[in-house]
Amino acid sequence: MTGHDVVFVLVGLLTAAAAILTVTSKNLVHAALFLATTLAGIAGVFLVLAADFLALVQLVVYVGAVAVLFLFGLMLTRAPIGREALDNQNRGLAIGVSGGLFVVLSALIVDAVVGGSLGDTTVAEVTGPGIEDIGMAIFAEWVLPFEVLSMLLLAALIGAIVLARREPGDSGEEAMATRIDFGDAPPTEGTDSLSSGSLPELTSGERREGGP
């Protein structure tokens, strides 16, 4: 056990625990926070694996943007809490599939690494390419995938705006104001009818006049 291994075990245990809590937590916001912890832990794993640049990118993109986006998603969709509300009936199936897969995969990995079919895999000192190497490789060898990725991001940007945007005359602002959830309370009847008032075929104004 080198110092590297010890650090890795600590970071890895934290990451694994946070990941398991992410999928079992009964509170949505707690789940999102555990996800952020997991992602930060993975950044730590990258640091141990001598991938500094990737670790910082992970922090900036995942912890700084993606996890915050998830938190927004949870706030704006006003989800109820409690396991019954968040989980479906498939928990047994899920445990079976994921547990079975984990057992099989880890058995294969342990066999390959410890059993020696990969040869001697223990690295004395972990090294990784520097930032210059990564930059040169991206813009020389991998420039085509890079451009495709940028097109994908542009398409996703436009697509997300188009999807999330309200049509004009959809009584946007009013419904938006009622949509913000002020806590953990499950949605009540009154707010429900308000928010479903923005059904595409039925503007909220019509709905309130005619009544459902």
């Binding site: 599939v97 990564i134 928010s195």
Partner: protein, 103 residues
């Protein structure tokens, strides 16, 4: 350092992600679980390139991981936009409730 640890951690994260995708019913939580699986793949890629093939000074693993991060960001953006739309139209983000196209 042995690659055993990172690979096992990645396996665990991947399986936890699968559990989340199957067992969760809130669409945002399902998206989160997908993120876990993508991150597990990232750990694997970095571990392979830095631990198993360090002599090539292989940048490919890290570059793949960077691409995956970019794709995941795009996926979350579009995914959450779809979830918002779903919430607006059905007042629910449960994946079970979106069974209109079910045969």
């Amino acid at each position: 350092m042995s690659p055993l640890g990172p690979l096992l951690l990645a396996t665990l994260l991947f399986c936890v992600g699968i559990y989340g995708v199957i067992a969760r019913r809130n669409a945002v939580l399902v998206l989160m679980s997908v993120e876990l699986m993508l991150n597990a793949v990232n750990i694997n890629l970095v571990a392979f390139s830095n631990l198993l093939f360090p002599e090539d000074a292989a940048v490919s693993g890290q570059i793949f991981a960077l691409f995956i991060i970019g794709v995941a960001a795009a996926e979350v953006g579009v995914g959450l936009a779809i979830v918002f739309n779903m919430f607006r139209n059905r007042a629910s983000v449960n994946v079970d409730d979106v069974d209109l196209m079910r045969w």
